[in-house]
């Protein structure tokens, strides 16, 4: 079993042993969405209008927060050192880690989203758009985010810093995804937006692991 496969397996094992890792982002997602009716206005018509946007903002924040831990423990406990020492490709590692991260955050979020749609009175027509946009969009979040996670892995209070680095880069995803949901809600076509998200995903899958790999090496010259 190669190191990449072993790492994927170990990380999934860790997630299974410590369910908080994937349950917490889910709960956070739920709570942030639940805050809005409380803070703004519980009127369903009004909620329906903001539903897509709020759900996406919440998904984005939940992903962001769960990213913090992505590489941190690996850097601290010497796992990363062993990776580098093994001479195996860091590109693959970065890709594998992003994959595991998506499996533990983006995927559950996507599965959970319909429930939140109900809570936020999302228009009937918009459900598929929301699920599709999450399915294509959250992997982009994981990939882009893994660069930030790699950059801040060695930093003490990295969580907030990570948000600062990555949030501006998430804006395009947010715009296209929220607009897809919104358009679906008013009965319009949203293929264009999903297409864009798909293009971004392809681009991100090719490029970000390079940046993440380069960033990971930094953590060793500490």
């Amino acid at each position: 079993m190669s190191l990449v496969a072993a790492t994927i397996k170990r990380d999934l094992l860790l997630a299974a042993r410590n369910p908080g890792e994937w349950l917490n982002p889910l709960m956070f997602f739920l709570m942030v969405v639940a805050l809005f009716p409380l803070a703004v206005d519980p009127d369903p018509k009004f909620l329906a209008r903001i539903a897509g946007g709020v759900i996406w903002v919440a998904a984005l924040l939940a992903t962001l927060l769960s990213l913090d831990a992505l590489y941190k423990s690996d850097v601290e406990d010497g796992t990363l050192e062993q990776w580098l020492a093994s001479g195996e490709s860091l590109y693959l590692l970065a890709l594998a880690k992003a994959l595991v991260h998506w499996l533990c955050s983006g995927l559950p979020l996507t599965l959970m989203a319909p429930v939140l749609g109900v809570m936020m009175a999302l228009p009937q027509d918009a459900y598929w758009a929301m699920i599709l946009s999450l399915l294509v969009g959250t992997p982009v979040l994981s990939l882009l985010g893994s660069v930030g996670a790699a950059l801040t892995a060695g930093v003490r209070s990295g969580g907030l810093l990570l948000s600062l680095l990555i949030l501006p880069m998430y804006v395009p995803v947010l715009i296209f995804a929220a607009s897809a949901v919104y358009h679906a809600g008013i009965g319009m076509d949203y293929n264009g937006q999903i297409g864009f998200l798909g293009a971004m995903l392809a681009l991100a899958a090719c490029l970000t692991p390079f940046a993440a790999a380069a960033a990971l090496k930094l953590n060793l010259s500490r």
Binding site: M1, R10, D77, G78, E81, Q82, A85, S86, G87, S221
Partner: protein, 235 residues
């Protein structure tokens, strides 16, 4: 296990190494070579640069001047080949505290798993060897400091690497652990392996030991008193 070392010749040469950190020179014009059967201990006071040098040798840090050659080729050019032949054990042991010793060990040996066909049985035996028999299924966060270190050390028994690079491996080990590790190192050297080690511990029972002293002595004058004190104490 012995046959694994066949055809595994070690030849690591450092020529004219120079390294500074924060504009303080740690070592300069350092040259040495390590071949089969060598045991090199890097010695020196705190902050002398032992860890730094060890990481250079392991190929984890490329921030130096001079040359590092593996079988006469620059280390970076043959890195993946080199990586398969040397075992690096750093300060932190890459142990996930939520996993059990056996799960951790599986991951630790995975880079070698294909080439050497390491079976699970071997891993269990290795854990037995480091006196973790009975703890294989206990999550590592319930083990004491020394027990956690032992998980990392269990690798020494299964990984077929002729060159070992060990940073302070005696940390947190009790006397039995120290003795076991000394014997293990001794045996490895006898079987034609090679070991580079940093340790403040005096390696007592190993005859073929060579020492490389990295000194801060010049840098801090108050240090010279300490040296003479120590010598008085010893004499």
């Amino acid at each position: 296990m012995l046959d694994r070392y066949d055809n595994n010749s070690v030849s690591l040469a450092a020529t004219d190494l120079f390294c500074e950190r924060d504009d303080r020179v740690l070592f300069e014009s350092l040259s040495f070579a390590i071949g089969n059967g060598d045991l090199l201990q890097l010695a020196g006071p705190n902050g002398a640069g032992k860890t730094t040098l060890l990481r250079l040798l392991a190929g984890l840090n490329r921030d130096y001047d001079g040359e590092l050659l593996w079988h006469d080729e620059p280390l970076d050019d043959v890195f993946s080949e080199y990586a398969a032949r040397r075992l690096y054990l750093g300060h932190s042991a890459a142990i996930k505290r939520a996993l059990t010793p056996i799960e951790n060990l599986r991951w630790l040996v995975s880079p070698w798993a294909e080439q050497a066909n390491i079976s699970d049985d071997e891993l269990w035996q290795a854990l037995e060897q480091v006196e973790l028999g009975g703890y294989e299924e206990t999550p590592c966060n319930q083990l004491s400091a020394g027990q956690q270190r032992r998980v990392g050390l269990a690798r020494l028994d299964v990984v077929p690497a002729p060159l070992w690079i060990l940073d302070e491996p005696f940390t947190a080990l009790d006397v039995y652990g120290v003795e076991w590790l000394e014997q293990r190192i001794q045996r490895h050297v006898e079987r034609n392996g090679a070991v580079v080690i940093t340790s403040h511990h005096a390696l007592q029972n190993i005859p073929s030991l060579q020492r490389l002293d990295l000194g801060l002595l010049a840098a801090s004058p108050s240090r010279s008193d300490a040296v003479s004190d120590a010598e008085e104490g010893a004499s």
